[in-house]
Subunit: 280 residues, 2 copies
DNA sequence: CCGCTGTGATACCCACCGGGTATTACGCTG
DNA sequence: CAGCGTAATACCCGGTGGGTATCACAGCGG
């Protein structure tokens, strides 16, 4: 059985993501004909049709969709192998967290007596899983139920309520507390839309956002509101007001790491975090 | 940044597992010099020394050990991509289970009204995780705490006590019940030793076993005993006697599947299994 | 209806590199 | 010091991955 090469997977993901041989080739830095040939060869070797090339364009078949999913995971695993090997000697551990989340908690973690040296990597919402999977980070701070924890081992750090972040000028900003029903259906403050994993946006009235800073800007301008864990209030501006949302589901801040990890660095850090939590 | 190719990972794992360039090359079906060259090139590209080639033989460095672990995972992910793509169209689902475990439960699962068509794959103890990871199977029956469930989503199927399997001729076989202390330290019936993930055996007085059938044989011959979940009694022979072990930890039979799975086949099967459990 | 445009497939060539054989270098051991 | 077992080096060759040029074809506008 001839195994696939990562080159083939990279080529296929490029085509599958762009649905265009020419642009995919450009992205890969090769010419279009070799790419066509490589994909055709891949289909022959797998014995499955991956793409429908009919009138005006390319579409994924069912098998193609499966391979796209699996290719991303496999390529992340290969990249992880390289990164983790390069960093094998480092005593330093890389922790990734969403920009602006859980400042105080993180501070306590880093100052814990038993904690090993830690390098902090900041990312945007929803990017932690990918960075853990591809070996860019050893451990992440994630939030249940916001983040997808599939494939990770976790340790609970804290549980907290959520607050609504509103423009200071808005009538609702004066309230002592709010309910989910009140904030989820404010006509002049539609909830912002985050990109899905594939980069596309769900439908809806709210503005499209991709980064926290852009979101903060939009709130300050009175264009949207959001509901976030209380500890994430760190990044609010003078133009923002935070109001507790009574019936919002509790958010659990968790330490997460690949369940396949056997790294002593990670184990030591998690142990330090757990004893810290016990002491608190 | 130049990515690694699966060929390089295959080559490295071969060398790392044999610790011998010549034999590794033979296993790979290539000559020794190109293999040496490929490994040297890999070390150059990663910028890390993977092997110590000093006096009389090869040893893994710390980085080498990391890469060996990661390579196995990455290669399994690539193989999984190929297998799952080939089987994308199949409506049939592949379920893997240890030979001889939980007959009755499995029977009920397969006969469940909502269950999709299922192909059964039998494997030896501890092999389920690998078969799930490399895409040979979609879902597995595993036993907590015996099996390593890292990286899998699970659904509990049943909880049960454990029994000791003894040679019928042994004095302990006449007892109504036993304790862990009694069975864990019987001088003439040392507990058998299973291979670790890397194929080596732990130290100890018991015989080395690799397959269930060999183990059954050894018990029948009066050379060892074992403690297993009550539902696994299916494979006992006339020469075997099962005696409940009161204080042995309870064993949970679980349905497990890769937490990255998004397959509707798997989802349907799990749903069927859960409703079945609820009905029982 | 015809050419234009934008697309992927084909044809063909070249150069690189992965793999082979032969040999060397080196360390241990008798 | 000779002999063996090992990995590294030297060198050559062929396959294949990549390039350019071109084709085939479908939609579409004039």
């Amino acid at each position: 059985m001839d195994d696939l090469e990562t080159r083939e997977l990279r080529y296929f993901t490029a085509v599958a993501e762009t649905l265009h041989f020419g642009r995919a080739a450009e992205r890969l830095g090769i010419a279009q004909p070799p790419l066509s040939r490589a994909i055709a060869q891949l289909e022959r070797r797998l014995g499955v049709q991956l793409l429908d090339r009919n009138r005006r364009g390319v579409a994924l078949t069912e098998a193609g969709r499966v391979l796209l999913r699996e290719s991303r995971l496999a390529l992340a695993a290969v990249a992880a192998a390289a990164r983790r090997t390069r960093r094998a000697g480092d005593s330093q551990l890389v922790l990734v967290t969403k920009a602006g989340a859980s400042h105080a908690l993180l501070q306590r973690l880093l100052n814990a007596p038993a904690a090993p040296p830690v390098e902090i990597l900041l990312c945007e919402v929803g990017e932690q899983a990918g960075l853990l999977r591809d070996g860019s980070a050893d451990v992440a701070i994630m939030h249940h139920p916001y983040d997808d924890l599939a494939g990770f081992d976790t340790e609970e750090l804290q549980v907290e309520g959520q607050v609504a972040i509103l423009p200071a000028a808005h009538p609702l900003a004066a309230r002592e507390a709010l309910t989910l029903a009140e904030v989820s259906d404010v006509p002049d403050l539609p909830i912002a839309r985050w990109p899905r994993l594939d980069g596309s946006y769900p439908d809806g009235p709210g503005p499209e956002v991709r980064t926290q800073s852009k979101l903060a800007q939009l709130v300050a301008l009175g264009r949207t509101l959001l509901v976030i864990p209380a500890s994430s209030r760190a990044w609010q501006w003078p133009e923002h007001v935070a109001v507790p949302v009574f019936d919002a589901p509790a958010v659990t801040t968790m330490l997460a790491w690949p369940s396949t990890s056997r790294s002593p660095k990670v184990a030591a850090f998690v142990r330090a975090a757990v004893t810290l939590r016990a002491a608190a």
